[in-house]
């Protein structure tokens, strides 16, 4: 008599609205799926769209998932979607602002850095934002990003 123990992976399918916490949870898990860029792209895209539409993106969950995707995803398309989803929260959440600043300083994709400059406009008075823009205006490899950063810096608000 032989006993064989094994785990079985059974594909499952679930449908529901984006407001459904179970769906959201799955999307957040899928956003960190390292195997498939397509799965990550779709899930981050859906979560980002929810955030952009202002649907229940107040809690830390989705925002955190998008920040993780922005920081760590290897795929530039995924990072771009995450960044766009975070845009509306840049003035509300300092963690989001800092994640966007980090992308502006470090992301290898110039499109993402360009988007980051645009997204940071609502917080252009922040000391950290201006300092990062100064840095980028001087040293970014892309002339376009340097120019855009300088333009933002030219609008010097009279902050006291």
């Amino acid at each position: 008599m032989v006993e064989v123990r094994y785990n079985q992976v059974v594909p499952q399918r679930i449908e529901g609205s984006l407001d459904d916490p179970a769906i959201r949870q799955l999307l957040m898990l899928a956003s960190e799926n390292s195997a498939s860029a397509g799965v990550r792209d779709d899930s981050v895209g859906l979560l980002a769209a929810e955030c952009r539409a202002g649907h229940s993106c107040q809690g830390a969950g989705i925002r955190d998932a998008l920040m993780v995707a922005l920081r760590y995803d290897k795929n530039a398309g995924v990072r771009q979607k995450a960044l766009e989803g975070l845009g509306p929260y840049v003035a509300q959440d300092v963690r989001v602002r800092d994640a966007v600043l980090e992308a502006l300083l470090n992301d290898s994709d110039p499109r993402i850095r360009t988007t980051a400059v645009t997204i940071l406009e609502p917080v252009e008075g922040d000391t950290s934002v201006r300092q990062v823009l100064h840095s980028v205006a001087n040293s970014d490899q892309s002339p376009q990003i340097r120019t855009v950063s300088r333009e933002v810096l030219r609008r010097e608000p009279e902050i006291q």
Binding site: R71, Y72, K74, V94, R95, R97, D98, A99, L101, E102, L105, N106, D107, S108, V123, G125, D126, T127, S128, R130, Q131, V132, H134, S135, N138, S139, Q141, R150, L153, R154, E156, P157, E158, I159, Q160
Partner: protein
């Protein structure tokens, strides 16, 4: 900026940069790549600090006047006060939760009629002073108390947070600091470390485009420091190596480096580096056992000081240092020229900065510092044009041609000279100069 248009002052800056390279003692033999890199670094602008202000208090708001329509929309009973239009979230205003569209009605018990009045009132309050404010938020009156910040100190703190890699700026992408040292480096400076959980003990930073051009690579990360007994040290990484690849993946920035380390957590990985302009492959064991901690930095002027660090510090302040006083600029230029002549002659046996020279330089620097007003510089206005940059580059090139680092091996400052230089450097740093180039 008329003080920038004077050629001798520009020359003074360039020459001072050169001096900073020259005055490096050389306790360690540096590779050709390293010493050349250091010379290049002398030209690299570092990120600018934004404003600089005196000890005037800084709240961190921009305000505007109200009109009837706006007052109604903000549910005010009368058209009076200053409405906040912009918040600096890094400043006290952001810290206490002031928001755009809050209306400041009173400051320290005094009624605020409009934006200009509030600006005047704020100007008169020194940094560190606590103020009370009455505000209206959506019609509800609140009283808040807040301590005004010293803007210059705050800017330095924020920049350190960005530059040193705070939890925010470094946890994701490393921001250059990836510690892993079970034992810190010897020396003085302690630097808080908030690295990723994957720490290999190397401080890295992206190559600037100029540096990449010079080295003939498209991109990479330069190793600034390696912690003793770290994985990076075990792998054989050294300061001024340039990391080009981790495994098959080209590393172009800090985020890529961090991602690559994460992907290889707990595994050995092949790291392709550039050393002395030749590519090599090292095996780096990426462990995950190290957690957040502290990494001690080498004290730049201590017994273990790396001469290259000193060289970096020198040009950095030199780039920022503008002589407002013509005589001081001229005197410094003359001294630098004399120094250049000595270097040309390679008369190192007789080359010394004597106590008198040192004292004179110190006096001139102090004089220049007294006359230097940061407020004279509006960051965006202050730029070198292409011609000026070209001129400075030519001067640097000329200096390099005549400068042989090998000749400096025997050259040393005595301890007293080093102490005096250190003190001067500290004074410069305390002054909080930001790079305006």
């Amino acid at each position: 900026m008329n003080h920038l248009s004077r050629p001798y002052q520009k020359l003074g800056i360039a020459v001072l940069s050169s001096m900073a390279i020259v005055v490096v003692p050389a306790p360690h033999a540096a590779s050709a790549q390293s010493s050349e890199i250091v010379q290049l670094m002398a030209q690299e602008p570092s990120p600018a600090l934004g404003h600089s202000a005196s000890s005037q208090g800084y709240l961190g708001v921009d305000v505007a006047d109200l009109d009837q329509e706006k007052a109604q929309a903000l549910k005010l009973k009368e058209v009076r006060g200053a409405v906040i239009t912009l918040i600096d979230h890094d400043a006290p205003a952001g810290q206490i939760g002031l928001k755009v569209n809050d209306v400041v009605l009173q400051l320290n018990g005094q009624a605020v009629e409009g934006a200009e009045q509030l600006r005047r009132m704020l100007k008169e309050i020194p940094a560190g002073r606590k103020v009370s404010m009455e505000i209206s938020r959506d019609g509800a009156i609140q009283t808040l108390s807040v301590e005004l910040a010293d803007r210059r100190v705050m800017e330095k703190d924020v920049w350190n947070k960005i530059g040193n890699g705070s939890d925010v700026f470094a946890s994701g992408t490393g921001m250059g600091i990836l510690a892993g040292a079970d034992e810190g480096l010897p020396g003085g400076f302690k630097m808080s470390f908030f690295g990723s959980t994957l720490n290999v003990g190397a401080m890295v930073e992206p190559l600037t485009s100029q540096m990449a051009d010079y080295l003939g690579v498209s991109s990479g990360l330069m190793v600034k420091q390696v912690a003793h007994k770290s994985e990076a040290a075990t792998a054989g990484l050294k300061a001024f190596d340039v990391i080009l690849k981790v495994g098959p993946d080209a590393i172009t920035n800090l985020a890529g480096w961090d991602r690559a380390l994460r992907e290889n957590e707990g595994k050995p990985v092949q790291v392709t580096i550039l050393r002395d302009k030749k590519q090599q492959t090292l095996t780096l064991q990426v462990d995950s056992k190290h957690k957040q901690g502290e990494m001690q930095m080498v004290e730049p002027f201590g017994p273990d000081a790396c001469p290259l660090q000193m060289a970096e510090i020198g040009p950095e302040f030199a780039q920022q240092f503008i002589f407002k006083d013509d005589a001081a600029a001229e005197a410094m230029r003359a001294q630098a020229d004399a120094l250049k002549e000595q270097m040309k002659a390679r008369d190192f046996e007789n080359f010394k900065i004597g106590p008198e020279q040192m004292e004179q330089m110190k006096r001139e620097m102090q004089e220049a510092l007294k006359n230097f007003k940061m407020d004279d510089f509006k960051g965006d206005d202050f730029k070198f044009d292409d011609k000026q940059m070209q001129q400075m580059k030519q001067q640097m090139e000329e200096f390099r041609k005549n400068f042989n680092p090998e000749d400096l091996k025997e050259f040393k400052f005595d301890q007293k000279q080093l102490d005096e230089m250190k003190q001067q450097m500290e004074q410069m740093k305390d002054f909080g100069f930001g790079n305006r180039v």
